[in-house]
Symmetry: D3
Subunit: 125 residues, 6 copies
């Protein structure tokens, strides 16, 4: 029965994060498999699937939150990828971090932009 939530979550995780999502789950499989499972079930199986915000808006919210919090560069990279996967443009992502400068300061904005720059470069391969 939780299998249903897990499967629904993995499907959503893959739609948003592509193979990076699988990689996060795998990297937890030896030390904290239950953290991976709960994250997939709750975050992706329960929350992301809700229709009240579309995926593009969820990723906009997520990259704004991670940039404002700070210290979440690995997760920010996963979600800059996710944001691009669900339809945000590079310009919108960079502009989001410019908006963050107003509310969390320039260091938060710079750290986020450099994370985005690394993701863009990787995707340009």
């Amino acid at each position: 029965m939780d299998n249903e939530r897990f499967e629904r979550g993995m499907e959503m995780l893959r739609e948003v994060d592509g193979q990076l999502g699988d990689r996060v789950v795998e990297s937890l499989s030896d030390v904290a498999p239950d953290l991976a499972r709960l994250m997939v079930e709750f975050a992706f199986g329960d929350v992301y699937v809700r229709p009240a915000l579309n995926l593009r808006d969820r990723e906009l919210v997520t990259i704004a939150a991670l940039a404002a919090k700070g210290g979440c560069e690995p997760q920010l990279k996963v979600h800059v990828n996710g944001a691009l996967n669900v339809g945000l443009t590079r310009d919108e992502i960079v502009e989001t971090f410019l908006q963050i400068a107003v509310y969390a300061g320039f260091p938060a904005a710079l750290n986020a932009v450099f994370a985005a720059k690394a993701v863009f470069a990787e995707r340009d391969g």
Copy 2:
């Protein structure tokens, strides 16, 4: 010349925050008038006016950032109002804070929802 940026900023501030924007500026007029002026010029005159994100998306980013950072309840109330003014629905605002629970924890989500609840109640008179 900075007058132009200030005027443009005040116009934008009023479009987003309505009379609450004026109130913040006024509340700074005795102790820190230059902070008010720089905030209007930079945040609203330079950043909000940029076309790369529309106002609805900017407010979505802003309430996500303030909720994730925490400790910004007064600003969160101003921007929940702003979010409603520029077209976000109450459901979208609450759903944004539900998404925040995943990335910044339930206390951050609860504090933000209670700020929104206070704003909704005030608007309902």
Copy 3:
């Protein structure tokens, strides 16, 4: 089926937080009932029930986390109550915040101690 998780979560929530838990759920019932439900299901129905840490240790972890993060005084009060409910002593709670002074600074410790002081006073009637 999620009813089972919800019921299990409400039972756990009541064991930890007593009637304060119900009050948080009720206070969300008009604006964000789904946030309440997801919190009960995930936090209390999925996480708190796990045997890998007992409730006393979970509350120790929770008050340490809330004190270190800062800006979570309402939640800290709920969980200082919870900590007392599941067997931590007042001395252990205060000592936890003294330990927090080392890792998050004296302001974080002071804010947490004043939250605890308010809870102790309320319980003393």
Copy 4:
């Protein structure tokens, strides 16, 4: 022997914070007297007395740190008072928070300025 550190700390605490310092110590005397003692001994008896920074610079550092961290409004008020006591001007304090807007965002600056405004008003009686 720690009495010496405590006495030296209380003297320094009073030089910086005036009677507000005593009030913080007293407010801890029932629930967490050891936190008060360790704070006086370590923060004021060990750190503030060091000649490598003068008191004016220490308070400049302290109000900048508290404003940037956020969620420390009670401590910020004590130290805006302290800053004034050891020679910083109101203009320098407000300008410090303007500088904070660049590095921690406008909400952090606004919260700090409103704390300062309250302190200034109280001192003007």
Copy 5:
């Protein structure tokens, strides 16, 4: 006389952190030897020695605080080691970070689990 606090602190530091504690102290010896001394005296000589919480509980509090704060990965690694040294199991440490997901979000939990994973791998040689 402070020698006594320092010696007591170094003994405690070694009991908790093993040779990693000495390494932190040594790494500060050229630029900030007084920070090392004050940390040993205050954190380990004054606080850790107090009987109100045992070492196992202090390390539980410490890893919870560091994980919730974020941006403290080097210190988190030292204290995951410390936690293991004073009797916490790997399962309890990982479960602590799962509990952190509820209160500080999944990114904080993930960063902490990956720090723990690195420590476990190093100890397994």
Copy 6:
């Protein structure tokens, strides 16, 4: 006309940060040139030039804020350099981070001291 603010800002940026300032601007030139421009215009062209605090005090405030916030090590390195450029001594910088230990905890102080240590080593070349 904004050219004037930009030129004034670049001059100030170079006075404070030397060639590191140019390097930050250049590193943004491909992905986020407008973030660089707005940072130069606002932070350095509008704020740093204000006479209410001298450059030495501004850098003291800045390194205190960055250390207290945490997760800003790249910016902290730039501004430890800046602090040295505008007249703060190595001892004053290290002492600032010792003061930070009181208000934001030892991990924040340690991370900042290690950033300073790296900058000192690089300058000693």
